[in-house]
Symmetry: D2
Subunit: 460 residues, 4 copies
């Protein structure tokens, strides 16, 4: 296809440094890019429709890694609100606070960046490029924290654009485009997909996969969840991931297990979809298969191992607490570890999966329960997966000390996996209780045990 004339037109006006767009030659300098962006922001940008936006996107697409910091700094320095204008609006508001001065103030603090981003989005592929731009930004942020001003603007826009009301829920199965399936394989990070045969099993009738898509990114899942339709809530990964498992008639299933939830776009970090995805899928499955009684997860406990191994001053598992928690199992630990002090013995065993699994499954369960309910980050729980599901209104149903025997999972949580359960009628109450009190909602079977542990912990 030929380039449209609106596009070619750009090269017809020579006196504006547009030769920088000759991408085949050397990359544009920071200064040139800034010039291009400024032009896009002026009326000239309007006159040319989407042509200039296309050029900016083309430059961004071909920009090398080392050119990004310069570009991001330019956005920070030259595309922020005008300090003079802000100060004037501030003074005016101070003098006479009211609707008029407030509107002026609001306008004065809006960055030209926001308009720049909106205009970049005029181009085909613009949305994707802006998501990629934020990826670069997020990676740079640690070293250049002042760039969070740029990030604030991107986040503001993305929160508007990626509103759940604009997202489309799609059921992904073996009739889906290979292009999309390939991305599931790439993005799956909870239970890695081992080749197309594994993938195919995960898309059979008794497995489901749902993803949110945005209309402007038709080939890019934003988040997806894998669901297993089963009888009962599984306590180990083998039941879920066995490629050769017989296929269950979905009408026979009583449980829908959310066994993997993956955010796909790093550039959309902080724009949350997971809550909506779980609830929508639950609603839809409930309608399709009225036989489903349980909506549960099979979730990792990502911070458990690291936390338990900590020995620094602020380590939550102090020797005292450990000793108290292990009181019932002292003998066993001494025996299998050969150490006198159970706390020390335990630590010595943490690299011996077989021993722990065989003799100390109960101990793992106790420690994981303590970790999930008592180790805190600020006013809430420390574990990010727990935080996600508990905030959404689920409760902690069960701890499975032998949940997943893979190497990766041992390193992360000594193989412990847990089930959170979403009970339709309690979701809202759970959510409010959790948000108000910070306390973890527990199943009946865990409540008593938890109470005992809590006392020991305080004492420890």
């Amino acid at each position: 296809m030929n380039r449209p004339w609106w596009n070619r037109m750009i090269h017809s006006v020579a006196d504006k440094g547009r030769d920088l767009l000759n991408i085949n030659g050397s990359a544009p300098s920071s200064k040139e890019l800034r010039q291009l962006c400024e032009e896009l922001l002026t009326g000239a940008g309007e006159a040319r429709g989407t042509a200039l936006a296309r050029e900016v996107v083309r430059v961004l697409e071909s920009m090398h890694g080392n050119a990004w910091p310069g570009f991001l700094e330019m956005l920070h320095e030259h595309m922020g609100p005008n300090p003079k204008r802000v100060m004037e609006a501030v003074e005016a508001y101070r003098k006479e606070p009211g609707p008029e001065t407030l509107i002026q103030l609001t306008r004065s603090v809006e960055s030209p960046r926001q308009e720049l981003f909106r205009r970049i989005n005029l181009s085909p592929n613009g949305t994707l490029q802006l998501v990629r731009l934020r990826e670069h930004l997020l990676r740079t942020l640690k070293d250049r924290p002042h760039l969070k001003s740029v990030d604030a603007d991107l986040q503001h826009l993305f929160r508007a654009w990626f509103n759940r009301g604009f997202l489309e829920l799609k059921h992904i199965d073996w009739s889906s485009p290979a292009l999309i399936l390939e991305k599931l394989v790439n993005y799956e990070s909870v239970h890695a997909i081992h080749g197309w045969r594994d993938l195919r099993r995960r898309l059979e009738r008794d497995r489901r996969c749902y993803a949110f898509f945005h209309p402007a990114l038709p080939d890019e899942p934003l988040i997806f969840v894998e669901v297993a339709l089963m009888r009962g809530i599984p306590d180990n990964a083998g039941l879920l991931l066995n490629r050769k498992a017989e296929i269950l008639d979905p009408e026979q299933a009583d449980s829908a297990i959310f066994y993997s939830i993956n955010n796909c776009q790093f550039g959309l970090r902080g724009i949350s979809f997971g809550n909506f995805l779980i609830k929508q899928v639950t609603t839809d499955l409930k309608q399709e298969l009225p036989g489903l009684k349980n909506f549960a997860t099979f979730s990792p406990v990502p911070g458990f191992a690291e936390t338990l191994r900590r020995t620094d001053d602020k380590a939550p598992f102090t020797p005292e607490r450990l000793r108290a928690l292990l009181a019932d199992h002292e003998d066993t630990i001494r025996e299998v570890s050969g150490k006198k002090d159970p706390a020390e013995g335990l630590r010595a065993l943490l690299d011996k999966p077989e021993v722990v699994r065989t003799h100390l499954a109960d101990v793992l369960e106790t420690l994981a329960l303590a970790y999930l309910t008592l180790v805190r980050r600020g006013k809430t729980v420390f574990d990010p997966v727990a935080l996600f599901h508990l905030s959404n209104g689920a409760h902690l149903e069960r701890i499975n000390p032998l949940g997943d025997c893979s190497k990766e999972r041992w390193d992360a949580s000594f193989g412990v996996m847990v089930n959170y359960v979403y009970e339709v009628d309690n979701v809202e109450r759970n959510h409010e209780k959790f948000v108000d009190s910070g306390k973890v909602n527990l199943s009946k079977q865990l409540q008593k045990k938890s109470k005992a542990i809590r006392e020991v912990w305080k004492g420890g």
Copy 2:
């Protein structure tokens, strides 16, 4: 279909006044609606996924006209930024202007309304309801100008949401859903569509219709343009609208005439799409039919008649100016009007279309040219259609004094219609010249005449 359980759930918690949602009964009071909106803004809103948003949308859908002002005032009063927080942020910024205080300031001025609107959008049909909400707001604004604070927030959101990058250009033809075609008939306001047969003629091979759609409003065109593929640029409406005109082979056409552009959503006023639509359609047609040489409009001159009839103190057409402009036609006017003073004579003739058309076509052309180029609103032209096309980079090509003989058009512009022409290579230059100087870009044939008129006008 049954209501999903997330939805039904809402009715299970009795202690929060949610019985107001029993729409079949009496409508909710303002206070109750406020309560519902506040709830949607809290964490409870999050816990329930989209359920609460659906309820708000349901209430809005069924709300009677007289309930709207109360609701809009509530948005103004109770959902704006917190004045105390704003003032604190203002003071903080004043003391120490910098990135940190700026971010705080920016956050402090963002209304909770914006988040409310974003959450309403979680619901199916939410986007449409928000567009309808703004319709109510715009209609109320004249009487309640303070509500422009609410409008500012809606506009801010809509500018993000209805970004051209998210719009889809669709070619509408006789294979399009009747649902959509019916809306064209309803929204067409330039050249009314008289029944389905008329519509069908406008969708034949030598006529085209293109519209922008937003993915969240699949059944609602946002704006559409009707195009006629012709030989030459037409100087009267009959050539365009004759239902029985023979169908031209599009390959034979040399001109694409944009003869009707209609914004369909009153609630999106001020969010502009027209510029992009014309340019995109031009690009696409150019590719499809390389034989097209002219891209022109056949446009109304909406403010002409009213302006010419004005006799108040600030009327642009003063008796002196009129006399000067009519100098060449004095005799004719005297003769057909029977009045001595040509200015007076002209006014006397303005209700006699046949006389004017037969004897004074040249006079109409002169007066229309004066109106379009010399009557101003602030620094730019007064006529809104002229403003639109000239800002987009078109030039004024020709004035057709006998352009449209319908009653409506006589009342609006004494039947005068004009052609604006989009020349690919000049669009940007024209735009810049027009924006910088405020001067109307004219075709060669009009330039000389215009110069003469300008001098007369200044003198007058």
Copy 3:
């Protein structure tokens, strides 16, 4: 779009009279068309892929009415089985009947026409042209009965091609393309559609329209049925066709009324779809709306008026029979007609709708029942609509003497309309009883009356 080279190629070989394809010039002679068809049948046709078929279709599309008979005769004369080959095969079979000679015999009787038709179908639009071809043929058949040989071949092919397994059932509603809706308006012949507003009412939630489509004719419905979802089975057209009737919530309906079934393609006469359409729609509606209890029609009685008016020797309603049937109403008839003989009196009244409706509704019911059950064509019922539904397994439920007061319906059946009912559990039994015995299955309420009439009729 340019013509593809395979197409252009055809003009590159000059020595085969292909210049006849220059359609812009004079039409090809019969001889030339025959040559073209023969060429399509040879290996050359194969070599050129679909090019030659396209040319034949192009010629057929542009062929004038008066050229058709010659073309059809050519198909009859020159494209039939080779008589010599047939006779040889006949002799061979006679001598030694067996699988081998049977296969030879079968091959010998297959016309080259069939292969010609199959090859014409290679072209885009070929299927449509063949349907149109059969239209011409059917119209010609009365005058040229020997052409039924050609028709036999077309029917054989169409029975294979338009097998129900290849048809797609589509729900047509207000979101359907105007292109399709326009065709409904054109093809509706039972209850004419009066403009788009009428059409729109027929596509609301409590009205349904379903059609069969063939993949090769995506813009051409083959047959469609209009269904009204109602409470109760209607006894007059007003209930069905009132454009301003309130819309019923489909969930509230207990009856699905098939009030109009239309075959759209004259060229497919004799290839039946109606049976499948009714049964499929019944199945689908039953699933969607379990509240539906009655599946009934509201049907015309097309042959009733003509039959009743007959006075020839073979007229089924003899004066004797009429007198006997009218015995209970003698006085009324005499009174309103002023004639002594009730048979004569009745005939005198047949042009006075108002009188008949006011005084003789019962008489109409009696006569219509006699007509439907006792007037025969061969071994089965005479009325074609009755034949259709009774063969499909419906029974005659009710006769509505005031069913439709329009002029057309008076002329056809004195306004009488009837309901046939499809009862799921009896469809098969009804079908078999009707096919075996030729007797009309009746509702309980009609059985007694029918018995009385039958005796009177035999006596008369």
Copy 4:
């Protein structure tokens, strides 16, 4: 989904042996199946719409391999034309040959089987089951040649149903459903696809894959072709199949290479699509990429090795011919084989790929040319791939003695691959010359060599 009532209905009539349909129990006996088929053929079949057809399809789907022969024999014995009726029609035609008796004769020879197949097709999935039925039939045919009567009927139907006019050409790429892509992997038999990565490379921008689909079999490609867009016509497989080859900009390509054509449905053997597929794809590519000059194949020579190895009495390569053909290479062959007689020497070398490739590439080319042009099957060429392309109007362009070094290809053709070229302007002439004379059309470069070989061969 629940079974529709039309379906359930079947079980409500107990007296017809329909309990045989209880598939969960024992399979139906041949006799029962025959009963079911006969019922489908009667009016009862009509009454029940598609219900009975569904049952037959359900039985066929679940039928075990050993039940098939009985079923096929039943079709042969009980579903053929009625011999008595045929003989009557034969006699009638003999007495008075004419249109009437011919139509009777034609009807008498049509098997009830054909109607049975058409009715089976009423069921969803019916078409697929009939294709599978023919698979079973074709596999049985060798042992039961009398079943060709059944096959004749299926072929007749399939020729009507799978007419190219009903097929849809689809471009298959990485956005196609995994379901379809998986089938390409399974059906590819020319150049096996090694995993998804290999497949993906074959679907990049400079590779294309096109397939024909039938609307009733949306998930089943009928035939597909793989095309490589390249610079020049390749002489070895590495150029085509290298997974790591750089991707060429399609606009830069001058040659489209059809390197693999695969029929996917064994049950459609004899219903040919390949010719149409190649020509359609050529037309489409030509339009999309005007830079393409060569349309060529890279084809196997499947019968070469087997023919050359033959030593039986009728072996085409007699020792005399071999010696004559090898005359120019005697010394080399003697040297590398150590045998005195070059014919014997050659045979000894046929299991030493490396030696042959290094020293005897020219010899292979000579022998392959002799094989392709001089070894005959009846009046035409022996090699099936040659027959296919030459009949379609291609010519033999080049012989590539080192075309494909894989083990499979050595076994089939000593690694020789050839290019056939489709020249738009010569396709028809080539086709006719080949069909008329049986002579292979050759490129200029091969003509001279071929002439020499021909003389040697005749002498030999």
